[in-house]
């Protein structure tokens, strides 16, 4: 295992998941919940928060125990740790937010198989210290929650004319029912992927211009 570099700052690890390596819009991971449960902003927020709790908790434990976990059984142990956090979220939501729990249904249990979570354990938490791993997990979880909330907000706004259940668009607006149905998830995600790719390409272009100008100077 790679030793942790003590001087490595946590800030870049925290911020990379929000934009540069956003799990949904850049890495295109965890698309199943990103499309299936995001028919409202509230569902996106709850699912994102539940996933964030599991991701940060699992990364913290996997990182802290990384030297004690034999390589041969590491994946099984990661899954046990992740499943424990997921079941904790499942019970807690059922107790505190029964309506949201009912709406999200099987997707709460399916957080166990979200490739984003296992991927971060294998790629980052098992090779880095607790501080960096928690920062990485929090950043990725933040990026995931932002992505789900954004998809949920667009779908709820166009599909129901409301946000968080509050009517935003006036009576003149005829809701597009398709947006809160499964095809709406595909349409919204596709649209947002195009926007994010365009923004990334523009930023890249600007960076190239800047460096060319600096070299010329």
């Amino acid at each position: 295992m790679a030793a942790e570099t003590p001087t490595r700052p946590a800030w870049p690890e925290l911020t990379k998941g929000l934009w540069r390596e956003n799990p949904v819009f850049v890495a295109v991971l965890g698309l199943c919940p990103a499309m299936a449960v995001t028919n409202s902003l509230r569902n996106g927020l709850v699912m994102g928060t539940a996933t964030a709790f599991v991701l940060v908790g699992s990364s913290l434990l996997v990182s802290a125990l990384r030297r004690a976990i034999p390589r041969e059984v590491r994946i099984s142990i990661y899954i046990i740790i992740i499943a424990t956090f997921v079941t904790t979220v499942d019970f807690t939501l059922a107790a505190l937010m029964p309506d949201a729990h009912k709406q999200l249904g099987a997707f709460i249990s399916l957080i166990v198989v979200n490739c984003l979570i296992l991927g971060r354990q294998e790629a980052f938490a098992s090779k880095n210290g607790v501080g960096l791993s928690v920062a990485d997990a929090a950043g990725m979880a933040g990026g995931f929650t932002i992505a789900l909330s954004l998809i949920g907000a667009v779908r709820e706004l166009l599909g129901s004319g409301s946000l968080l259940g509050l009517r935003v668009l006036g009576s003149w607006f005829e809701p597009w029912a398709i947006m809160i149905l499964p095809p709406g998830g595909f349409l919204t995600l596709g649209m947002l992927l195009v926007v994010f790719s365009w923004l990334r390409a523009r930023a890249e272009e600007r960076r190239r211009h800047e460096s060319a100008r600096t070299e010329a100077a």
Binding site: V37, P70, T84, T87, T88, F91, A95, P98
Partner: protein, 223 residues
């Protein structure tokens, strides 16, 4: 040439112990969480059940849990919650007249057990409403049994005799249920649960000789 770094393999015993210990700790944590959240979850379920009773029995103003004792349907008067199995709920209107019975039922779905409740009108021998209380059917497909309007319209006056029958297109008889396209297995599971439950409860709440079972009237008269 640099020597290849060798890594000593852990013994099988260590692997087994590590996995066993992780599983044990995980189990302990889950038991703790389960015990901590159980009372709240049960209270939520009781409230959801109460709301569902009023929804599947339109016109109901008050309800009474009823249990089968020695083949007789009697009111649950003991302290605490009635047993989950074998309890149904009699619904009464504002004048205290019997509207019908809300009957919980469950059975296997496509993914897991489906728990539902349905309203039964004993005078017409028809199901007058159905609500899924708990299911883990495939999201986007099987879970349509929870909220699909057209599917739920099947249960506004569904005859239970001789059998409740699932069909794939238009219904042609009052005892048929039009299944949801793309959720056929889950729809058929709901029909099967209803049919099995109706066969158990209809002879109790709507005897073949007609009329309301005397035990229910006795309960109301005694108030």
């Amino acid at each position: 040439m640099t020597p290849v770094e060798t890594r000593s393999e852990p013994s099988s015993l260590r692997l087994v112990l590590t996995l066993g210990l992780t599983g044990l700790l995980s189990g302990l944590v889950l038991v703790g969480i389960y015990l901590a959240t159980k009372p709240r979850i049960e209270r939520n379920q009781a409230e959801a059940l109460q709301r569902a009773i009023f929804r599947v029995l339109p016109g109901t103003e008050s309800t009474t849990p009823m249990v089968l004792r020695d083949g007789r349907l009697t009111e649950w008067t003991e302290p605490g919650r009635p047993p989950e199995d074998g309890t149904i709920y009699a619904g009464f209107d504002a004048q205290g007249a019997l509207v019908g019975y809300a009957i919980p039922a469950d059975g296997s779905g496509f993914m897991d057990t489906i728990r539902l409740i349905y309203g039964f009108d004993p005078s017409r021998k028809v199901i007058v409403g159905m609500q899924v209380l708990d299911s883990r059917e495939t999201p986007g497909l099987g879970d349509k049994i929870v909220g699909d309007e057209a599917f739920h319209a099947n249960f506004r006056a569904l005859a239970v005799e001789p059998d409740i029958v699932p069909v794939k297109h238009e219904t042609t008889a009052p005892n048929q249920v039009d299944c949801i396209t793309g959720a056929t297995i889950s729809s058929e599971a709901v029909v099967s649960i209803l049919d099995r439950s109706a066969k158990r409860w209809v002879p109790v709440v709507a005897p073949a000789d007609g009329g309301t079972p005397p035990q229910v009237s006795e309960v109301r008269d005694g108030r």
